[in-house]
């Protein structure tokens, strides 16, 4: 148990991710920005991603604690620091993890030669998504026990987590309707390799003064853990178990390639160019679901248990059993309460839907040296804007608000800086660069630069990078 606690602690302290891609959003030089808004304006004839290298995304963070809070080598006792962390964290604080690896992707302009206003993009990526809220009540219970907390309920709805490993095949269509309006839609097929979630827990444990004895312990439990694609692995490890619930559910490789639990989803987006300088855009991503039917194993605990002690000695009508008979019955009831019912009931889960929107203002055209005048042709070199991001999570939406400055530094080189306020930090400064050398495009986007002064004190760190080959428009 100590080891489990230790590893959980380290995991929670170190591996925490978010899904916000505030740097990539609207950075249209990078083809993968179409994944954050299928209705973004496209400014290339086509592209293909360098396989396995076109989009690598990892992002670590937590909403209430950094590794440095716990592991700073500052002479303060570790248990004091742990106590402070637990005191400061709230039950709505969370640890999330998202990692994406694009296997392949590509895109091509479509339409008549005189007006190629449509764009088809496609790709295949692998994603890991994890979230766990901080079960503060049970951290307190582990630190203090119930004795100093008589009358305090320990709420099981604080136990909420979801982890998913899946692959996504997607095809997107983008159309520039006119100079002002562009829209896009992307269809997705999800193939879940493995899922474990427990997001609908209810009930409580409480110790209160009793009418008949000093105290009573009350367990009121309605707990559920749903898994898919995990029980089979455990069975496989057990050589004696010839049982094959996983029949028809292939190995990990085939699960990635549509042998997993399948689902469907859609991304929608648009861009509205109000005038030369102002535009507004928005997208909704992963509006979809996965139905889990293969290798499903769910565990449920439901029931009540009240323990007030044992009434010994005086056997009679009101007390017909010996103390040992009462104790044996209580022990059996207690064990039965915590013996989970295992079911294979299929389930459907919504994907964590995301919303992006931004308002943008472009300014500052290139100054021509020859005439010391502003170039009439071409795009503006600078852009500022505000972005809002939201993601649906088990215990309510999470929001992030960003302000950004974009600059086309030179032909083929542009950069974007963001300042983001989110549950992880109110001083998240990010910087991204996209560089084009010939047709070769590379980009590197990183979050929370201020935290690089002491990386362990970062509550979130994000990194996205990739390499593409882009067929550029001549203009």
């Amino acid at each position: 148990m100590q080891k489990l606690f230790y590893y959980t602690l380290v995991l929670f302290s170190c591996i925490c991710f978010s899904q916000n891609k505030q740097l990539l959003y609207g950075f249209t030089e990078i083809p993968q920005s179409l994944l954050s808004n299928p209705g973004a304006k496209v400014n290339n004839k086509g592209y293909f991603g360098i396989p396995l290298l076109s989009h690598i995304h990892a992002n670590v963070g937590s909403s209430g604690v950094s590794a440095f809070d716990l592991f700073a080598d500052n002479g303060v006792n570790f248990n004091v620091k742990l106590r402070n962390v637990v005191d400061n964290l709230r039950s709505i604080d969370f640890f999330t993890a998202t990692q994406q690896l694009e296997v392949f992707s590509g895109g091509i302009q479509l339409g008549p030669a005189y007006n190629k206003n449509q764009y088809l993009s496609f790709g295949f990526y692998q994603e890991t998504d994890f979230i766990s809220y901080f079960p503060k009540d049970f951290a307190i219970l582990a630190l203090e026990g119930n004795q100093p907390n008589i009358g305090r309920p320990f709420e099981f709805d604080q136990v909420s987590f979801d982890a998913e490993l899946l692959s996504v095949l997607h095809v997107g269509y983008n159309k520039r309707v006119n100079e002002k309006f562009t829209y896009g839609i992307r269809g997705k097929i999800y193939s879940s390799v493995a899922n474990i979630n427990s997001t609908r827990n209810e009930g409580r444990f409480i110790t209160t003064p009793s009418d008949v004895n000093t105290l009573q312990q009350v367990f009121d439990l309605d707990l559920e853990v749903r898994t898919s694609g995990i029980a089979g692995f455990i069975d496989d490890d057990d050589e004696d178990d010839g049982d094959s619930d996983t029949e028809g559910f292939g190995d990990v490789g085939s699960r990635f390639l549509f042998g997993g639990n399948l689902g469907l989803g859609v991304d929608l987006g648009f861009t509205y160019q109000k005038n030369d300088q102002w535009y507004f855009d928005a997208s909704i991503l992963d509006f979809g679901f996965i139905t889990y039917t293969k290798d499903v194993e769910n565990y449920e605990i439901e029931g009540n248990f009240v323990f007030e002690g044992i009434d010994p000695f005086f056997i009679g009508e009101t007390n017909p059993q010996t103390a040992n008979e009462v104790w044996t019955a209580i022990s059996e009831d207690f064990e039965a309460l915590f013996d989970p019912d295992t079911t294979q009931t299929k389930y459907t889960k919504l994907r964590p839907v995301k919303l992006n929107t931004s308002l943008n203002y472009a300014f500052g055209k290139k100054v021509l040296k020859e005439c010391n005048c502003v170039a009439e042709e071409g795009d503006y070199l600078n852009r500022v804007g505000g972005q809002l991001y939201a993601i649906a999570r088990p215990r309510g939406p999470q929001l992030a608000l960003s302000a950004y400055y974009y600059r086309r530094i030179a032909k083929g080189l542009s950069a974007k800086a963001t300042y983001t306020i989110d549950p992880f930090s109110s001083t998240n400064v990010g910087l991204g660069v996209s560089a084009q050398l010939g047709g070769f495009n590379m980009y590197l986007l990183t979050d929370n630069l201020l935290a690089y002064r002491n990386i362990y004190d970062a509550q979130s760190v994000s990194l996205q990078l990739g390499f593409n080959y882009i067929f550029r428009n001549e203009n």
Binding site: M1, Q2, K3, F5, Y6, L9, V10, A67, F68, L70, F71, A72, D73, N74, N77, F78, N79, K81, L141, A142, L143, E144, G145, N146, Q147, P148, I150, S210, V212, N213, T214, L215, Q216, Q217, F307, G309, I310, D311, P312, F313, F314, A323, N324, W327, I409, A410, K411, G412, L413, A415, V433, A435, L437, L444, T446, Y452, N454, I455, Y456, D457
Partner: protein, 186 residues
């Protein structure tokens, strides 16, 4: 050419940012110092009986006993982490007789490993006499308690005035166990 230079410079700057990202002193091995000290309190035995319940069925003195077979102390987690046990008894006696409660921690064969007595003084004029007793086990005594598999309770009515069906008063007992744990990574 300028573009390539700029691209190179910018890319290098970002790379350097990663290479020279700083860390202040951290020590992840501190987690080995982890020490949890939860205190768990749970109900034990209770009863409330009026004086006539203590009338001996024969001429002998009144005594009752009961026992519970417990595996709690034998549990590996308890063996490793229990560092102190307090047994708290809240007793109210309004019967004009002395009582004695004997709690015995015994092994599987019934051999006593630890015994403690709760002496309950008689009430005077059937006035309620509240009594709070805490029996604490630590160290070697606790080690003996941890070996126990049977918890035996004996309640004796000590000598005094005869009880009849009309004798007033009540003896009530409430109790709990407070178990202090020390959970560390060793």
């Amino acid at each position: 050419m300028i573009t390539i230079k700029r691209t190179f410079k910018t890319s290098l700057s970002i790379l350097l940012l990663f290479v020279f990202s700083c860390t202040e002193p951290t020590d992840f091995s501190q987690s080995e110092d982890l020490e949890l000290l939860p205190v768990v309190e749970t109900s034990l035995i209770f009863f409330e009986e009026d004086a006539p319940a203590f009338i001996p069925p024969t001429s002998d003195d009144f005594s009752v006993s009961d026992r519970i077979e417990i595996e709690f102390f034998n549990d590996e987690f308890v063996q490793d982490n229990l560092i102190r046990a307090d047994f708290v008894f809240d007793i109210e006696n309004s019967i004009n007789r002395d009582f004695r409660l004997t709690v015995t921690f015994a092994d599987a064969l019934g051999m006593p490993l630890e015994i403690f007595f709760v002496e309950v003084p008689a009430s005077t004029g059937n006035q309620n006499v509240p009594l709070n007793i805490i029996q604490t086990y630590e160290g070697e005594a606790l080690d003996r308690v941890k070996q126990s598999l049977v918890l035996q309770f004996d309640l004796e009515l000590l000598s005094g005035e005869t009880l009849t069906e009309d004798s007033p008063g009540t003896l009530s007992l409430r109790s709990s166990g407070i178990f202090s744990l020390m959970i560390d990574t060793n």
